[in-house]
Subunit: 373 residues, 2 copies
């Protein structure tokens, strides 16, 4: 009886292109709904469980194991479940690991710029590279970076959600002759692609794009970086304390962890991260091709760094923006309006967006173009 | 069809006495389950909504209005939705409002002690009073407190979740001749009783007791305290920035806010906070009377400050603890084990615990006593 109900709802659902909080896998939502009043015969909703009880501990441990397995995170990294999102990490990373007093930043868009501004409170910041001169549409060549020897770390945003610029391959600081750990804000493409952890010291991500609901932050940190916190770092956000207490020094966002756990199990059923990466490449190509072949739409980002998760695009005739969005809504294509700082449109096509959703968007774009061109 | 399913599950649910995350109103969980895949015909789960979209903004605004109305919060207080729980606030309160450099603390149990230890990082702390000598079972008389003139604030925990000590009436610092704002950690009795905001400068609460799921923190702060943050306060946790951005400087924990909103609407249907307070008094009296009349169970807290939310109690014969807990589990009475720092049992009887649940616990206690005394 329950299944019938669920199916009926599923068939009515539109495609949601929100940049985050973002669309979730439908079967994950259905699973959560069916377990809302009674998780696995416990008589409790996951929301009602003590975080110290055996039921929630089992959910936590499964989520930890699944994320380590799926993202192929080596054992010398700790996986932390925190709160506050990427914007909080902009302060928490320097509070935790900027002990030398100097930090390098590579600025490629709004998010890395925000990170840099916040870090100024805690350390001396150096702009190693900046792509502002081309409107954040290309990636500065690592060979040209001005890296500070002895800096505590180098920070970059590996996928700029607003500008749609993605590092398809992370720079290899070691090969460039630097021991500085690389810190990446991978909020909007975590779990969308295979990642080379040999190049990473610390990675953080708000969960609300590819991993689950807002309110959960994933921090993956190399163990040797855990001993560096400034004395003013709040205990609840001190990576060493969080790691030493299995992310339960303070009460963790239990339901968000549970939802992320369901998403991780869904990712496994999809074939894991390599399979998702292949699918994400296909989805992104479908959309970029449609844009590039058209004289009606436009994407300004250089070919080699176009984000496979966040595709900003513009109607060349911007007076049609409102009509485009209204028509999209009628076609069941939601939340396509671009970020206010860049305008235009943005389609976020995270893991949970099926190829059919991207195809539906492309079909609508062609149809709209025909009637208005 | 959906209603039948829900009802079947409801009838099977046990009573959950967890101290937090804690039991939720059953009809709230059922409502959340039924809307999980499609909120009000939007085609989206609340989890999938952009926090900047009109759908979520309406949820946020309703929750803000309901909490202000229910808790009778005057207009010169801001209501902030934050993350990190009470333990994070132990750092964030001094980071935001300890500008004078000195802060007073009244220690009445584990939570106020933790707050004091964390504040030491940011300011000079003064212990105005401490009930440690009687094992945190009574409240120090405000007339005996050693208050620092000119301190940034005086902190107390208005309900000690672990020791079960509650301020039934808040001290009136102004009447005592002090302008120092009173800061209260009211995590475990927020929304359980009427509160005199004239006596309060700032109140904070982790939501996971009376308000909703873990991962949401409520901060209610008098507007004149918003301008005091230390320069090292992280922007995402700066009260003025959070207030100025309607709690959306960073992505808020949207689903937790939605769930809290459903709880607030449920509270209104129950008759509001004064009605809840009456019911909570009845529930607490039922349990304390059963304990006091027995030679088998014991509660050590002084009569005038027994918590109406968290009732720690002990079997005089502690060798029966495991049998008591196992029997309780069989009777559908969950999560009664006391906090590890005090031992024994603890029944948390928050708003969402019906009188029938407390009666079922009392019945079981008497039955257990008969078979073992």
């Amino acid at each position: 009886m329950r299944q019938v109900m669920t199916k009926t709802i599923l068939m009515q659902r539109p495609y949601n292109f929100s940049a985050g909080p973002a669309t979730m896998p439908q079967e994950v939502l259905a699973e959560a709904a069916s377990e809302m009043l009674d998780w696995h015969g416990s008589g409790m909703s996951v929301m009602e469980m003590s975080h110290r009880g055996k039921e929630f501990i089992s959910i936590y441990e499964q989520a930890q194991a699944d994320i380590r397995e799926l993202l192929a995170i080596p054992d010398h990294f700790k996986i932390l479940f925190m709160q506050g999102g990427g914007l909080a990490e902009n302060a928490l990373v320097p509070l935790n690991i900027s002990c030398s007093g100097t930090v390098d930043f590579v600025v490629t868009g709004s998010w890395s710029k925000k990170s840099l501004e916040e870090a100024r409170k805690y350390c001396s910041v150096n702009v190693a590279a900046n792509n502002e001169s081309d409107g954040h549409t290309s990636l500065p060549d690592p060979q040209t970076w001005k890296i500070s020897r002895g800096a505590s770390y180098l920070h970059l945003c590996s996928n700029e959600t607003i500008h749609g610029v993605e590092w398809h391959e992370l720079p290899d600081l070691k090969a460039m002759g630097y021991d500085n750990p690389l810190v990446i804000d991978f909020s909007s493409h975590a779990a969308s692609r295979v990642l080379d952890w040999n190049r990473v010291g610390l990675a953080f991500a708000g969960a609300q794009k590819n991993l689950g609901p807002a309110g959960l932050t994933l921090v993956v940190v190399r163990e040797d970086l855990l001993d560096r916190a400034l004395p003013i770092c709040p205990s609840a956000f001190n990576y060493k304390i969080v790691a030493g207490n299995q992310s339960m020094f303070n009460t963790p966002p239990t339901y968000a962890i549970y939802m992320a756990g369901l998403v991780l199990q869904w990712l496994k059923r999809q074939g894991g991260i390599a399979a998702m990466e292949s699918r994400n490449k296909v989805k992104a190509a479908l959309l970029y091709d449609a844009i590039d072949k058209s004289q009606f739409y436009q994407n300004k980002v250089a070919d080699n760094c176009r984000s496979r998760m966040n595709v900003p695009f513009f109607l060349r005739n911007e007076s049609l923006n409102e009509a485009f969005l209204a028509g999209a809504q009628r076609h069941g294509l939601l939340q396509l309006k671009g970020h206010k700082s860049v305008g235009g449109m943005r389609a976020s096509i995270y893991n949970a967006m099926p190829t059919e959703g991207v195809q539906a968007l492309v079909d609508y774009m062609l149809e709209f173009q025909k009637t208005r061109a």
